[in-house]
Amino acid sequence: MEGDGHVKLIIAAIKPFKLEEVREALTGLGVRGMMVTEIKGFGSQSGHTEIYRGAEYAVNFVPKVKLEIVVADAMAEQVVETIAKTAKTDKIGDGKIFTLDVESALRVRTGEANDEAL
């Protein structure tokens, strides 16, 4: 079977402690799945220094969580806005959200395709 609805991939880097909140918000929207990865983030926030055994060193990476969410075109914008709204602390390091086009999606278990696969 062929779902004809086009889908998009939304990649977001957010602060780890916001993960749960964002997940709940998205579930509320009807998002039914995502992939979550612990990453080391590099950005404006990075670059403070710590001391270890008397030696200063720069911390170039800060722990972030990366979300990868595939959603139907129709929902994409709403999802981006929801993530932005929820992940926001107005402090540097809040993160970024990127949207990419996906050619096709497939659910392994059922073979459903595209938007039906989500």
Binding site: K40, I51, Y52, R53, G54, A55, E56, Y57
Partner: protein
């Protein structure tokens, strides 16, 4: 009980005047004394043995995860090799029992393997009926020998090849340590002629190990990337819980290390002294830790756990040269200064581009030197005697070690390739990760 000791008693019964003599009838028989002394060594022995685990955990926690399997292997192997070498030649080289090839300098019982008393020996036939069983002394002394090698393994971690390291360990535990230790504890020239005083080995054991480590660190060079364009790049330890456990185990073992060095427990005075030693040892460790805690808070704005661990150990090393005589207050002072010393000397070594992965040289070397000087505070020795003792033992150990390291470097090489070092010794040298299930971040 020997006849000689019964006669006065018998006499006492008949002649009142000699009652005074009767009082000499011992409250503790020679055999009971001998049992207590041997028991002290046995308890001290297993406590100091456990320090091998303490060193392994401390070092395993302070190296990066990619070198943990290697560090574990080194620690198990070095203790095992020390156990064999000390039996093979070390014990008799260290304890000539008055039988010198070169008076006060080199045992005549070299090379000879250690031999214990026969099974079920009677007190009268014991090697030394006034001391303790040879086996108990042997196992206790062996543990001290192994400790020197453990000190070296920490300093040279994360870059040295396994086998050259183990060859050095064999030389250190079979020859270098027993030789220099014989000058003091074997009744050699330092104890007899100089009056050097080092109760449990701030210098004889700890500074000796540190000197061997320093020589190695110089010949070996720092880890790749540790010192880059004038900056020091910290390489944080991979498991501070493990390192903390290691410190606690070492602290535990130190009760045996210092307490057992009283060498006797068969009288009120001796057991009371062992008790003093326990108390002072514990106090010095505590004050060393607190000193490092406060100092790092003040200097860096945040306390540094790794320094606190080093501080406790530095306190222990500092009190080791004289854990008996000080009051608890003085023990606190001695330990605290030890803690201060590591906080200042760890970065100092880095400035000199000497890469000591776990701070072994500051803890066992610099704090050891301080502790050896501190003996003077209790009037047990003179500055002069202490200086001569340190120069002799640290100097000899450093030079002999340097020679061995240079030879090893020349003949087989002591360092892994840069690529292997970056990949980590566990995969490159051992082909086995310590934490294979966990993704490294």
């Amino acid at each position: 009980m020997k006849l000689t000791k019964i006669l006065p008693l018998a006499a006492a019964v008949i002649a009142l005047p000699s009652l005074a003599v009767a009082q000499e009838a011992p409250a503790v028989s020679d055999e009971v004394v001998w049992i207590f002394n041997s028991l002290l060594f046995l308890i001290g022995g297993f406590l100091v043995f456990f320090m091998a685990a303490g060193f392994a955990m401390l070092e395993g926690g302070l190296v990066r995860s990619k070198n943990v399997t290697m560090q574990m292997t080194k620690n198990v192997a070095l203790f095992s090799i020390a156990a064999i070498m000390y039996w093979l030649i070390g014990y008799n080289l260290m304890y000539p029992l008055g039988d010198w090839a070169i008076e006060g300098y080199f045992s005549a019982l070299f090379p000879q393997v250690a031999v214990l008393e026969p099974v079920g020996v009677a007190l009268a036939d014991a090697d030394d009926p006034a001391y303790a069983s040879t086996g108990s002394d042997y196992i206790f002394q062996l543990m001290f020998c192994a400790a020197t090698a453990s000190i070296v393994s920490g300093a040279l971690a994360e870059r040295i090849k396994l086998w050259p390291f183990l060859i050095f360990v064999a030389v250190l535990t079979g020859f270098i340590y027993p030789l220099t230790a014989s000058w003091q504890w074997g009744g050699g020239w330092l104890s007899e002629n100089i009056g050097f005083s080092d109760f449990a080995g701030s210098t004889v054991v700890h500074a000796c190990g540190a000197a061997a480590a320093l020589a190695g660190a110089i010949v070996l060079g720092p880890r790749v990337g540790k010192y880059k364009d004038g900056k020091v790049n910290p390489m944080p330890g991979s498991n501070l819980a493990l390192a903390t456990l290691g410190m606690f185990i070492l602290w535990l073992g130190w009760f045996g290390f210092n307490g057992g060095s009283q060498l006797a427990m068969g009288s009120a005075g001796d057991v009371a002294d062992v008790s003093r030693i326990f108390s002072n040892t514990n106090m010095a460790a505590a004050s060393g830790a607190v000193a490092a805690l406060i100092l790092t808070q003040v200097m860096y704005g945040k306390p540094d756990l790794t320094m606190v661990l080093n501080g406790a150990l530095a306190g222990l090393v500092s009190i080791t040269a004289e854990p008996l005589a000080p009051t608890l207050g003085l023990a606190l002072l001695i330990g605290a200064i030890g803690g201060v010393i590591v906080v200042f000397t760890v970065p100092l070594l880095d400035k000199m581009k000497i890469d000591d992965v776990v701070g072994a040289i500051p803890v066992h070397g610099f704090a050891g030197i301080w502790g050896t000087f501190a003996v003077v505070l209790t009037g047990t020795s003179t500055v002069g005697a202490q200086v001569i003792g340190m120069v002799a033992i640290i100097g000899a150990t450093f030079i002999l070690s340097l020679i061995v390291w240079i030879i090893l470097k020349g003949i087989i090489g002591i360092r892994v390739s840069e690529e292997d070092e970056i990949a980590g010794l566990d995969m490159s040298e051992m082909g086995m990760e310590a934490y294979p299930d966990f993704s490294k971040g």
